[in-house]
C-alpha cells in the first residue's frame, strides 16, 4: 500500500493518530467577514482546524471557499472547507476544487446540502448532479490520479476529503451502509451530526468501525438555556435530553449574575461532555471531536480540557 500523503495539519494529526479538536465557523449573509475572523482567532489556539459552512439550510451566505481562504489568510487557522453538491454540477464542483487548491485550502468536507426548498431562495434549481459520496470520489480522483474524467490536470489539487455521518439516523442501518459507500469512495475522515445519546452513539460508532475511517464526533455545547431549547425544538432529528434542558433552565431561573450564569453554563457543558467523551475515548471509538457550537468560542479552553483528559 502506498504511503499516505499529507496535505494539511489536520491530515498530519489524523495520520499520527492524535486526538483532534475541530471547530465550526458560520459566515453569514455579508461580504464582511470581520465577525467570523474574530471567532476564528478566538478558537485558533485550541483547534487544529475549523469547518466553514456552505449556505447551511440553503440560506444564502458568502461563498464558503472565499470565506475559508480569507479566514486562513487573516488568522492562520486551517479551514475545513464545506462543499455541498446542491448548487453546482460536476463541472462546477471540479472547478471549485481546483480554485480552492489555488487559494490554499487543503481540507474539504463533502456534503449533500439542505434542499433549496428549505432556504431563502426556494425557487432556485436544486442541482444534486453528484451526491456526498460521489463528490468524495471526485476529490480523490483529482487528488490521487491528477485527472478528471481521464483528462490530465496540469497542477492537480492536493487536499484531504471528509464526509458527514448521522448517528441519530433512524433507520440506523441505512446510514451505516451509506457510510460504507462514502468510505469506499475514499473519505479520509468523518465528522458526525451532533449527538447527546451515549448508548446510541456507541452502537453507531461500533458499527462503522469496520470502515476504518477516523471519526470526529459532533458535539454542541449549549451557551444558554435559550440556545439549548431552540436546538432541541428546531434541529430535526436531534433531541436534547430532558434532564439537560432542566439543568440549563435552572441556571437561567436561579442565577441572576450574568458572569456567574456564563461560568455555570460553561461548567455544566464541561460536566456533561467530559464523561461522554472519556467513555468513547476509552472504548477507542473516537479520533476527535468536532464542536459545532458557533458563537460560543469561550467554551474552547474547557473543551480542550475535555478532550485532553
Amino acid at each position: 500500500m502506498a504511503e499516505k500523503k499529507i496535505y494539511s495539519k489536520l491530515g498530519e494529526m489524523i495520520s499520527k493518530g492524535e486526538f483532534v479538536l475541530t471547530g465550526e465557523l458560520e459566515p453569514e449573509k455579508t461580504c464582511d467577514l470581520s465577525h467570523t475572523i474574530q471567532e476564528a482567532k478566538e478558537m485558533a489556539p485550541y483547534v487544529v482546524a475549523a469547518n466553514v459552512t456552505d449556505s447551511p439550510l440553503a440560506i444564502v451566505t458568502i461563498n464558503s471557499m472565499a470565506a475559508s481562504h480569507i479566514i486562513q489568510r487573516e488568522t492562520g487557522l486551517e479551514c475545513v472547507w464545506q462543499l455541498t453538491v446542491r448548487d453546482c454540477n460536476k463541472i462546477g464542483l471540479a472547478g471549485q476544487i481546483m480554485g480552492a487548491q489555488a487559494l490554499g485550502l487543503r481540507n474539504v468536507l463533502s456534503l449533500t446540502g439542505d434542499h433549496t426548498n428549505l432556504g431563502d431562495v426556494p425557487e432556485a434549481k436544486p442541482v444534486f448532479d453528484l451526491d456526498s459520496a460521489t463528490l468524495v470520489k471526485l476529490v480523490r480522483e483529482m487528488v490521487d490520479t491528477g485527472k478528471i474524467n481521464d483528462n490530465e490536470i496540469e497542477h492537480p489539487p492536493t487536499m484531504h476529503v471528509g464526509a458527514a455521518a448521522n448517528p441519530n439516523a433512524d433507520p440506523m442501518e441505512a446510514e451505516i451502509l451509506k457510510i460504507g459507500r462514502k468510505a469506499e469512495a475514499g473519505a479520509e475522515f468523518i465528522q458526525t451530526q451532533v449527538v447527546y445519546d451515549l448508548d446510541m452513539t456507541i452502537e453507531f460508532l461500533r458499527a462503522i468501525q469496520k470502515y476504518k475511517v477516523p471519526v470526529f464526533l459532533g458535539i454542541f455545547p449549549m451557551k444558554s438555556y435559550g440556545i439549548a431549547k431552540g436546538f432541541d425544538m428546531f434541529v430535526p432529528g436531534v433531541d436534547v435530553p430532558k434532564d439537560i434542558l432542566a439543568k440549563w433552565k435552572s441556571v437561567k431561573t436561579n442565577v441572576s449574575d450574568k458572569k456567574e450564569q456564563k461560568d455555570t453554563y460553561d461548567q455544566l457543558n464541561y460536566e456533561f461532555f467530559k464523561p461522554f467523551i472519556s467513555e468513547l475515548k476509552s472504548k477507542n471509538l473516537l479520533n476527535g471531536v468536532h464542536c459545532m457550537a458557533v458563537h460560543y468560542t469561550r467554551i474552547f479552553p474547557k473543551l480542550n480540557k475535555v478532550i485532553k483528559g
Binding site: 428549505l118 460521489t134 448521522n166 446510514e175 451502509l177 432529528g237
Partner: protein, 223 residues
C-alpha cells in the same frame, strides 16, 4: 400510465387568447389522460365551451379526440374539421403538453401559421392510486435503476434524486422537503431491499447519472 394534468387558471388562459387577438376557436379535448384527470374529455369540453361563449368567443367546433398526442389520430380528426381549423383564429387544446405539440406538428404543413394554445399544466407521468390521486413515480430518465433499487425509483422518490442516499435531511424515515411528512425515498428503498434480502444492492456505491444524452431532443426509433 397517464400523463397527469391540472387546470391552468381560467383567467390565465383567457388573457393569452385576448393577447393573441383570438376571437374564433376550435376546441380539441383529450378523451384519454386529460379526461381521467378531469381537465379534458367531454366534461372539460362542455365547461370550456360555456366559459368561452360567455366571454364572447366564437366556437366554430369542439371535438373530443382519443390520443391527441398520437400524430396519426390527430391528423385524421383534424382533417374532418379542416374548414373550421382553417377559419379559426386559434385552436384551444384541453390536453397535456404532448397534445398541444402534436397538433402544432400535424398542422405544420397545411396550416403553419395556426396558433395553438393549452388550458392545462402538465405535471408528470403518473401512477394512478385512485381517481383524483396520482403519484409521480417515473421521470423517464432513460436509464432505469429499478432492478437494483427494489422497484422503487430514487430519481422520483428522493427529493434530491440522489444516487447515494439517504442524506442528512432524513429524520425518522421522513424527508426534510415537505416538513417531514413524506417518506424518504432511500429509506423506502432500504426497507424494500431488506425485505427481499438484497441489502448488498443498498451497499453499492452508485455512479452519478449520465446526462450526456440529455442535451438534445430525445427520440426512440425502433424500426
Amino acid at each position: 400510465m397517464v400523463v397527469i394534468t391540472t387546470k391552468k387558471p381560467v383567467d390565465e388562459v383567457l388573457k393569452v387568447l385576448k393577447e393573441n387577438d383570438v376571437r374564433s376557436l376550435v376546441v380539441v379535448s383529450c378523451g384519454v389522460c386529460a379526461a381521467l384527470c378531469q381537465t379534458g374529455g367531454t366534461e372539460g369540453l362542455k365547461k370550456w365551451t360555456e366559459i368561452l361563449e360567455k366571454e364572447g368567443f366564437d366556437i366554430l367546433v369542439g371535438i373530443v379526440s382519443e390520443d391527441v398526442c398520437d400524430n396519426r389520430v390527430m391528423m385524421k380528426d383534424l382533417r374532418k374539421i379542416d374548414d373550421s381549423v382553417k377559419d379559426a383564429d386559434a385552436i384551444l387544446t384541453l390536453s397535456c403538453g404532448l397534445g398541444v405539440q402534436s397538433i402544432v406538428q400535424v398542422l405544420s404543413k397545411k396550416h403553419p401559421n395556426k396558433k395553438v394554445f393549452v388550458t392545462n399544466n402538465t405535471e408528470f407521468m403518473g401512477m394512478t392510486e385512485r381517481i383524483g390521486r396520482f403519484r409521480m413515480r417515473c421521470l423517464g430518465c432513460g436509464d432505469c435503476l429499478l432492478n437494483e433499487t427494489g422497484g422503487i425509483c430514487p430519481v422520483t422518490t428522493c427529493a434530491k434524486a440522489l444516487m447515494n442516499g439517504p442524506c442528512g435531511g432524513m429524520v425518522d424515515g421522513k424527508c426534510e422537503v415537505g416538513n417531514y411528512e413524506r417518506d424518504c425515498g432511500w429509506v423506502l428503498i432500504y426497507n424494500r431491499l431488506k425485505a427481499i434480502g438484497r441489502l448488498d444492492l443498498f451497499s453499492k456505491l452508485r455512479e452519478p447519472r449520465d446526462w450526456s444524452d440529455s442535451g438534445h431532443q430525445r427520440e426512440v426509433i425502433f424500426r
